[in-house]
Subunit: 147 residues, 2 copies
DNA sequence: CAAAAATTGTTAGCATGCAAATGTTATGAA
DNA sequence: TTCATAACATTTGCATGCTAACAATTTTTG
C-alpha cells in the first residue's frame, strides 16, 4: 500500500533535486553569476555569444546570426538592437536581398573580441572548477550530447 | 606569428561550442522544448518546481518557497501570482508574522501533483535519452556538483 | 509566367530571472 | 526599552526566450 502514505511515497519515488531540468537551471544560475564577475561593458552571456559568433563567421544577416548563436529570431532581434545601442555592431540593408539587414562588427566590437575570448576561457574554468580535469572533460562531452 | 592571422588564431584557441555556459544554455533550450510536450495545464518548468516543492514541504511563506525552489524573491512572486491565477495555490496572511503570506496548495493543485511527478520522470528520461544508462548517472552526478 | 511556399524581419504578449529601491514587520543587542 | 538590524513582500527596470501574427520579399513549383 504505497498509496496509503502519499507524502512519503512521492518524496521517495520522485526527487526534484535529481531531475535534469532542475539541475540544469541551477547550473545555469551559477554560471550566470560567474559570468557577471568577469565580463566588462555590461555584456550578457547572450550578447557575448552573438559577438563571438559574428567575429567567427563575419558579417551576416540577423536571422543567420540567430541560427549561428542558437537564438530565436525574436530573441536575436533584441540582442542585435542592444549591441547596436552599445556601439559594438552596425546594421545595413543588403543590396542583394531587400529583406535582409547585414549585421557587422564595429571597430569597438572588433577590439573587444580578444578580451572577450580570454574572459570566456576564465569563465568556463571557474564554472567547471568543482570538477577534476578528467571530470571536466567527461562533463563537457556528455553535455554536448544533450544539445 | 599566430597573431598575424587573427581570424584563424582566434577560432583555433577559442571555440564557443566548447564553453560550459553556451552548452548549458543549449541543453536548457532542449529540455524546455521537451518539457512543453509533456506537461499539461500550461505549466512552465519554474511553476512545476514551485508546485512540487510546495507539495514536498507543505505550506510556507513566499520567500521560503523561493529559497526551496531556488528562485529570486522577485521571480517567486510572479510565479506564485500565476499559480494562484490558475487556481493551484492560495495565499493567506500569517497570524504569527504579519509580514508573511502563507502559500498553500489548493485541492486542484494537490490533485495535480501525482501527475506532475510522473510527467517529470518522463521528461528527465527523454532529456537524458542521448546518453547511456551509465552516462546518465555520471552526468547527473557531475551536474549536481556544479550547482 | 503565376500561384504557392519559404525566408526575413517586426511587433506584441507572456514568463522567467536578476538588481535595486521601498515599506512593513520582527528580532536582537546595547 | 529602544535602536539597529534583519526578514518579508512589493515594485520597477532591464534582458533573455518563446509563440504567434503580420508584411515584405524571394524562391520554388506547377
Amino acid at each position: 500500500m504505497t498509496i496509503a502514505d502519499p507524502g512519503a511515497a512521492e518524496t521517495e519515488t520522485y526527487r526534484l533535486d535529481a531531475q535534469a531540468g532542475y539541475l540544469l537551471r541551477l547550473a545555469n544560475q551559477r554560471h550566470a553569476a560567474i559570468f557577471q564577475n568577469h565580463v566588462a561593458a555590461g555584456l550578457t552571456p547572450t550578447q557575448f555569444s552573438a559577438l563571438v559568433r559574428l567575429a567567427e563567421h563575419g558579417a551576416c544577416s540577423q536571422n543567420q546570426l540567430g541560427r549561428l548563436a542558437a537564438m530565436d529570431i525574436a530573441t536575436i532581434k533584441g540582442v542585435v538592437d542592444r549591441l547596436r545601442q552599445k556601439g559594438f555592431v552596425t546594421t545595413a540593408p543588403s543590396r542583394d536581398d531587400k529583406r535582409r539587414h547585414l549585421v557587422s562588427l564595429t571597430e569597438a566590437g572588433q577590439a573587444l573580441i580578444g578580451e572577450l575570448q580570454a574572459a570566456g576561457q576564465r569563465i568556463t574554468e571557474e564554472t567547471l572548477a568543482p570538477l577534476s580535469a578528467s571530470e571536466q572533460k567527461s562533463f563537457l562531452r556528455l553535455l554536448k550530447k544533450l544539445t
